[in-house]
Structure formats: C-alpha cells, structure tokens
C-alpha cells in the first residue's frame, strides 16, 4: 500500500524540464503549415472535381475557359503564398536543426518512403515500357503526400500543377531554391528522377530488369546527398546528379535483385542510429590476459612484492555482466579490484603526514583445511572536505558509439552528481573528442552551475573517436588553469575506443606520464559494454596517477563520484608498494590472491623510479595472502632432499613470526619514498570488526570462483553467501547486500 502511494507521488510529479521556446516555435510553425496545407488540399479536391467536369472536350470547344483560368489563378496565388511561407520555414528549419537532427528527419523519411511506395506496381510499369514511367507519376505524387505528413508538410502541393512546376524547375536547372528545400528536395526530385529513369532505360536496356529498384535506391542516394551541407553543391548541377545516378544504377543493378528485404536492410544500415542491440552482441571488450598467482615455496622465493591498486572497474564490470544474464569473462575478473570495491573500517592514522597505517589479520582459510589467510589492509587518511580544491577538466568521448542509454546520458548524470560534491570555487571545464576535438566549456567556477549544466545538456553523441587529440587539449586546459594548491585532474569518460589519432598505447602512456610529473593527474571512467577497452583505461589511469572506474549505473556513479569523491580526487600517497617477506621457519608456501597485474620485481621495491599505485583520501587497500604453515598437511610440495639446511639463527625470535611486512610510499608532492614496516607475529591480534575481514574473504572467494581458480576447492556460491552474510555488518549504502545478490545471480547462471 505504501508502495502505491510512493508510485502515485512519483508518477504524478512533473520532472519535465522547461520547454524550449525555439522547439515550440518550430513545432507550431510546422503544425500550422501542415494545417493549412491540409485545408487547401480539401479545397483543391473540391476544385479539381469541378475542373474535371469541364474536361478535355469542353476545353476543345472553348466553353467556360474563364472559369478554368480563374481556378488556375487562384491556385497560383495560393501557391505563391505557401511557397513564401514554406521558404521562410525551411530557412528556420535548416538553421535551427542541428545536423544530427536533420539526419533523424531524413532517415525517418527514408523509412517512410520505403514503406509507402507500392513497389510491385512500379516494377510492372517499368518493365512494360520505359515510357510508362510517366504513368507512375501520379502515384508517386500521392505517396509524396503521405510522406509529407512527417513534418515537411509545407511543401506539399499535391496538385499536378505544382509538381510539374518542380519538375520543370529541376530540369531547366533553375535550382536556386534547391538548398532551401533540404530534405524535401529528394522527395520532389524523385519525380524528376522518374523522367531520368525513362531516359536512362532507353539508353541502357539492361536496366529494365532492375529498374524497379533503381528509383528507390536513388532516392536513398539523393537523400544521403542532401543530408550534409554538401547537398548544395551536389544538387546545383543537375547533369552531374544524373551522371551519378547512371553510374550508381550499375552498382545497384548488381546488388539488388528486386528483393524487398534487401532494400530494407540497406536502409537500416544507412540510418545514422545506433545499431540494434544484436550488432553489439559481438563482444569487442578487451581485457588483458594473465595467469592466476600460483603457490610459491618460501624456501625458493621468500619475498613477494606488488603495487597497491584502488581501482574498482572489474567489480562493476562483473556486476554488469551478471545483471545482463551471463557470467563474466574470466579475464575481466581481477580479484583485488573486487575486494577493494568495498570500504572497510581499518584504523585510520591521525595526521596527513602519516597517510595510512597497516592492519594485519591472520585467519584460517575457509576453503582449504590447514591453510591460513593473511589479510593486509590499509586505509588512507581522511581529509576534511574544506581543505580540498580542485581544477577538473572533463574529457568526454562523444563519438557515435557513446550514443546509448548507459553511455552519454549516464556520463552527463554522473558529472552532475560530481558537481554536487565539489566546492563552489572549484574550476570545471569540458573538452569533447569525436570526429573533431573541441572545448565545450571554458574553465568555469562550480558556483556558476547553470552555465555548466547548459554545456552538459548540449552534448550529443556522433562521429569518430580521436582520443589522443582530445587528451592533448584537455591537458592544455588543465595547464592553463593550473593551481598548485589544488588537485589538477582530468577525468576522462569513454567507452574505451580510440579509433583515430594516436593509437599507439606506449606513446599515449608516455605523454600521460610526462604530464603527471607536472602535477596533472588523469582518471578514467569507463561506460557501456560491447566496446569496452579495459586494458587501455587501466594503463592510462595507472600512468596518470588516477583511478579507473567502470560506471554501469547511477548507483555506481554516486559511489565513485560523490561518496568517494575525496578519495577519487585527492591523492594522499603515491607509488605505494607492498613487500612481504615470509619466514621459511613458519611458512612453507604462499600465494597472493589477485594483484596479478600489479606484481613487481623484488628489486623494484626500493627503486623510487618505479611507478606504483596511488591512494586517495579515505581509500582502503586490501591484499590477502593464502599460506601454508610449516608442518601442515596441506603442503603441496615435498621438501627437497638436498635442500639447504635451514638457518638456525634467531630461531627463538623468528619462529613466532609468519612474515615481515614492508610498505613504501611517497607523499603526493615528494619524490623520495618512506617506509613503514611491521612483523606479522603468529599471535597477532585485531581489535577491529571481524565482519569486515569475513566479507573481504567472501569477496575474494567469489572472485576466485568466477575466475575458475584451482585453489578454491569445492567452496561453493552458497558458502560465499553464508560468509558474506556474516560479514555484512551495517552496510549503510547496500553495497554488500548487492554483492550477495550478485553471488545468487552467478549461482543461477552457472547451473
């Protein structure tokens, strides 16, 4: 019941924006001219009836010519008036419509044309004799009148007089009006075309067979030609159109064999709309492939080194896949990103100078007896909102591929959400990239909200993608407005494709890296599916000291851009590296769960030149090792018979420690690293909330199941759910509940 009230409230509320006066003007003008032409049509029908009554014979005899003249005069007069009105409207129309909108209208007409033309008639007429094409004319005209219903009604003059006039206009090359007619031109010129067809048919008898298609497809061609501003040139010299027409006829004759379905297919392809979903099904998502970390023997390789990772893209991507009813591609599963998607309540340091402190917990492994899990967590220092300033450049992909509900509209909504979480004095600018790159919004203060919103609302998708050029322009904007007290960041939103421009990943990476050293960071937000280039985004964001997040819905947009705005935007430590040295006296084997793509060489740890992950304010990073203590039956490898004799020094001390943890990091503005280190003793105690730990383990288990890991044994989805339920905690935003639902979904899908 309560739900119904809410529903009533939501449905009856008005979310519609203010109407656009220009749009209204346009619609009213079109409607009024349609109205008028509908009227004159009715009148003319009447006139024509009387006219017909006088017919051929009466004219021959010469009676009542006066009446006929009068009617002609009236017609001419009204023609003149409507012609003027139509010209005016056409000017408004062409001026006010953006090219893409023009495309819409044109293709809509295209479809209507294909629907309305009575093909069989046309065909038979054409086959009988070329001269019969003329007979078809009236038919075409009546069809034209149906077509005109769709918005260009003002041009409707279905009386034979006016269409003949058009024909004569066109053929006598008086085409001054042509460019004003825009979409209409092709409709009227089809009539002229039929003349041409007859001529052509005479010239080339072989066209007879396919003649039925010829006029139709030349419509399409002509439409296509009239789409762009080019139209003017193309239409002006009539002979050249005829020329084109001729040569195209040949091609059309080959491809089209009078089969109507073919033709509709052609129309669909020519339409500038996003492909139907089927076309997206072929999966072009790109992921870096990697093999899962194996168990390593401590005696052979006691040290494990990796870079921190706060990205979450993998988790959102998996969610999107599951929600659309399929299990994710195992390559898309990065366990560490799943774990780090969630916020854990690790103890937080007290000042910004010490950006984080590690929390280590050792538990039994839930999926294998005799193994243990070492849980390493850090949480970044949380900055107060008031001390943060930012200079943000949005770099938006508006290429044609972004034209889908879960892409550009979602980008816009996400940006608006981010605006809410920024300080009024922060600067925002917008650069778009598609066929050409452009600045949509010069640097503007967030307080000037309406300007920013206007710019966002005017974004439309269309064109190719030239990501590299866009990146340069965005960096220029950020540099121009560089504020050394603020975080200068480019937020790039794309579905991941970089079709044109610099496609060389390495070159782009180096560019981003160079700019990073100047203090401008780059974050990448991924949208949509089917074309998603995960690898590219990850590498750009990693080189740009930013995050890579995948936004699949508004909830996610809120999480990344509003709730975690501070951590996403404000780094508190950079190049954060972990190194764990295992104690061979206590640990036989270990493996790191996840972080495959983040592993570092042992010597990289102390090398400050080596780049690693960054941590933003309030970010949490969690890594989980699974290890087998010495003496456990779970050891997978027999000890070496000729192995080294174990060092017995310090036995008393070392036997109580599993490992030694070291973390290196740099403060955001510094270039030398600092070190935090701590031993992991066997009886290490954790004062915090165990539910966080359980939950992280559940997520790790889920990731491994999705990945098809060999180490997870027969730990099932149900076990994951049970464990996650225990670790759900207070879950104020419902993210953990959502996780549990995802596991259920995966369970159903995997059957």
């Amino acid at each position: 019941m309560e739900n119904n009230d809410k529903l009533l409230k939501i449905l009856s509320e008005d979310y519609a924006p203010e109407i656009d006066i220009n749009a209204r003007k346009r619609a009213v003008n079109l409607a009024v001219s349609e109205f008028k032409s509908a009227r004159t049509e009715i009148n003319k029908e009447k006139n024509q009836k009387t006219f017909q009554g006088f017919g051929f014979i009466s004219r021959l005899i010469g009676i009542n010519t006066r009446k006929g003249e009068k009617i002609m005069k009236d017609n001419k007069k009204s023609k003149f008036i409507y012609g003027g009105a139509a010209t005016a409207i056409a000017v408004v129309f062409v001026g006010a419509l953006s090219i893409s909108q023009l495309d819409d209208t044109v293709s809509r007409h295209k479809q209507n044309i294909s629907a309305t033309i009575p093909t069989p008639d046309l065909k038979s007429d054409l086959e009988v004799s070329p001269a019969h094409v003329r007979v078809v004319e009236p038919q075409n005209k009546s069809d034209a009148s149906v077509k005109f219903d769709d918005g260009l009604s003002d041009w409707k003059r279905s009386d034979s007089e006016s269409s003949k006039e058009i024909i004569s206009n066109l053929s006598s090359k008086t085409v001054e009006k042509e460019h004003q007619e825009s979409g209409v031109t092709s409709a009227s010129s089809i009539i002229a075309e039929s003349d041409d067809v007859s001529g052509l048919l005479k010239q080339a008898p072989s066209y007879k067979d396919n003649g039925a298609n010829a006029p139709l497809d030349n419509w399409t061609r002509l439409k296509a030609a009239s789409k762009a501003p080019k139209m003017q040139e193309e239409h002006a010299p009539m002979p050249s159109v005829a020329q084109k027409f001729k040569s195209e006829n040949k091609a059309i004759g080959k491809t089209f064999h009078g089969a109507a379905p073919n033709r509709t297919a052609q129309h669909n392809m020519a339409a500038p709309y996003p492909m139907p979903p089927i076309a997206h099904e072929q999966n072009r998502d790109k992921f870096e492939q990697f093999t899962v970390n194996m168990f390593k023997q401590v005696s052979a390789e006691p040290v494990s080194t990796f870079s921190s990772d706060v990205d979450t893209a993998s988790y959102s991507f998996i969610r999107k896949a599951l929600n659309s009813g399929r299990l994710p591609n195992p390559d898309a599963v990065r366990v560490e990103e799943m774990i780090n998607y969630f916020d854990y309540n690790y103890p937080v340091p007290k000042s910004r100078a010490e950006p984080f402190k590690p929390t280590v917990v050792v538990t039994d492994s839930p999926w294998a007896q005799g193994r243990k899990l070492m849980h390493i967590g850090i949480k970044g220092y949380q900055l107060a909102k008031t001390e943060l300033r930012s200079n943000i450049v949005f770099l938006l992909d508006v290429s044609g591929s972004m034209n889908a509900a879960d892409k550009l509209p979602l980008v816009k909504s996400s940006m608006k959400m981010l605006l809410d979480s920024l300080h009024p004095d922060d600067m925002v600018s917008i650069v778009v990239y598609a066929g050409s790159t452009g600045v949509v919004l010069e640097p503007t203060k967030v307080s000037n909200r309406s300007t920013i919103l206007d710019a966002m609302n005017n974004l439309h998708a269309g064109g190719g993608t030239a990501g590299a050029a866009g990146i340069r322009l965005a960096y220029d904007m950020a540099e121009r407005n560089f504020d050394k007290h603020a975080v200068n960041r480019i937020i790039m939103a794309t579905d991941g494709d970089f079709n044109v421009g610099i496609t060389n990943h390495e070159e782009l990476k180096r560019y981003v890296e160079k700019k990073r050293n100047k203090g401008i960071f780059l974050s990448v937000l991924g949208f949509g599916q089917g074309n998603y280039n995960d690898h590219m985004m990850q590498s750009l964001a990693q080189n740009g000291n930013g995050i890579a997040a995948y936004i699949d819905n508004l909830n996610e947009a809120r999480k990344v851009l509003v709730q975690e705005a501070t951590s996403s935007l404000f780094p508190i430590a950079k190049d954060v590296k972990f190194q764990v040295e295992f104690n061979p006296d206590a640990v036989a084997e270990y493996r790191l769960i996840g972080y495959e793509t983040r592993s570092l060489k042992r010597e990289d740890f102390n090398n400050d030149k080596i780049d690693a992950g960054d941590i933003g304010a309030g970010h949490t990073v969690t890594a989980i090792y699974e290890f087998v203590p010495v003496g456990s039956k779970a050891v997978s490898v027999d000890p070496l018979r000729y192995g080294k004799v174990k060092p017995m020094v310090n036995k008393g001390k070392s036997v109580n420690e599993y490992a030694y943890l070291k973390i290196r990091y740099k403060l955001p503005m510094e270039n030398t690293s600092k070190l935090i280190s701590m031993p992991v003793s066997k009886n290490i105690e954790y004062g915090g909330d165990m539910s966080d730990i359980r939950f992280a383990i559940a997520v790790a288990a889920f990731g491994q199941i999705l990945k098809g890991s060999q180490y997870i044994g027969d730990f099932s989805y149900d076990d994951v759910i049970a464990l996650a339920q225990q670790g759900k905690g207070s879950d104020p935003y419902g993210y953990r509940a959502e996780f549990i639902n995802m596991v259920r979904l995966a369970k159903t899908l995997s059957r």
Binding site: N3, N4, K6, L7, L8, I10, L11, S12, E13, D14, Y15, A16, P17, I19, D20, A23, R24, R26, A27, V28, L30, A31, V32, E34, F35, K36, A38, R39, Q101, D104, R108, Q111, N112, D149, D150, G151, S153, N268, A271, Y273, P274, P276, A405, D406, P409, L410, S413, K416, M417, D420, L453, N457, H460, L554, N555, R558, V562, G734, A737, E738
Partner: protein, 181 residues
C-alpha cells in the same frame, strides 16, 4: 492555459479551418504535450521530436476529435501513440536514463532521487499498454473509465492493466527495499 470556454471555442474554430485559432491552440497545448512526451521517454531530445510530430499529427487529426473526451486526455493519447510510432520507426526504446537529468537538478535528497529514478526506470520497462494506462491514471489522474473510453476498451481492461503493472512494480520494490528508505 486558456480557460475552458476559450479552449472549446478555439478547438471549434480550428476544426472549421481557422489557422490562427489552430496556431493559438498548439501554442497553448505545446507544454502539455511536451510534458507527456517527456514522461514517456525521459529525455529532452526525444520528447521534443515526439512533441513536434504530435503537433503535426494534430493538424490533420483535429477534426477527428469528437467532444466526448476531454481535449487534454485526447491529446495525451495522441502523444503516446506518436511516441510509440516514433520509437518503432527508429527501432529503439525510450532511454529513461535522461529522466535523471532533471531529477538530479530538482531534488535535494540523493536517496530519494535514486529511488525515483529506479521506479521510473521500471515503469519504462513495462509493456506499452500497461505503461500508458499507468501514466494516464496515476500520472495524469484520469479515471479508469476515461482511459477505457479513449482506447475503446472496457473499463475492467484498464483496471486489470493497472493492477498488473502495480503488481510487477511492487514485486520489484518490495524485494529491493534497499533502494528506498
């Protein structure tokens, strides 16, 4: 919005061929039509296109308006039909995502925003017949009878559609209370 008497007079004059009256009429009702279109598709661009189409349809269709239904109700149906045809001809569906364009701008409470957004998204997913009945009855406050007359079906059919739509929505939102508060 002109008063009732003006409207009827305008409509009658337009029906008899008075272009000025028709222009005034379209001007007066553009907003009503636009709002309906927006409710249907949830984004400005589509809504403007649909409204424009509907205005043009109105030019030819005004004569078929018999005075049995309220003019606005009759317009709603005109707009909805135009929208359905429009999406069909374009081979796509209302996006709905654009709804948030304004929900975000209008409301302060982000949880409420999200909930509203989720509800509207689900409404968008309903079959056309249920969606239009729901929007007309719950959104525009028409009675079941009125809607039934407009579509030329029995009143019980409309009640059934509404019932079905509510059932579906309730099923979704009682399960996902986490979206609400």
């Amino acid at each position: 919005m002109p008063a009732d008497i003006d409207k009827t007079e305008l409509i009658n004059r337009a029906k008899s061929g008075d272009a000025d009256a028709f222009e005034a009429l379209v001007n007066a009702y553009y907003e009503v039509m636009f709002k309906m279109a927006y409710k249907w598709c949830g984004n400005r661009r589509d809504a403007e296109d649909i409204t424009q189409e509907a205005c043009i349809k109105l030019a030819r269709g005004i004569n078929s308006y018999g005075c049995s239904a309220k003019f606005t109700s009759w317009l709603y149906v005109l707009v909805i039909n135009t929208a359905k045809d429009w999406y069909k001809s374009q081979n796509r569906y209302p996006e709905g995502a654009g709804l948030l364009e304004n929900i975000v701008a209008n409301s302060d409470n982000s949880d409420e925003k999200l909930y509203t957004y989720q509800v509207l998204k689900e409404v968008n997913k309903l079959p056309d017949m249920e969606k239009e009945s729901l929007i007309l009855v719950m959104g525009q406050g028409l009675s079941h009878k009125e809607v039934a007359d407009l579509y030329g079906v029995k009143e019980s059919t409309i009640s059934w559609r509404i019932h079905e739509a509510r059932k579906k929505l309730n099923a979704i939102f009682s399960k996902e209370e986490r979206y609400g508060k």
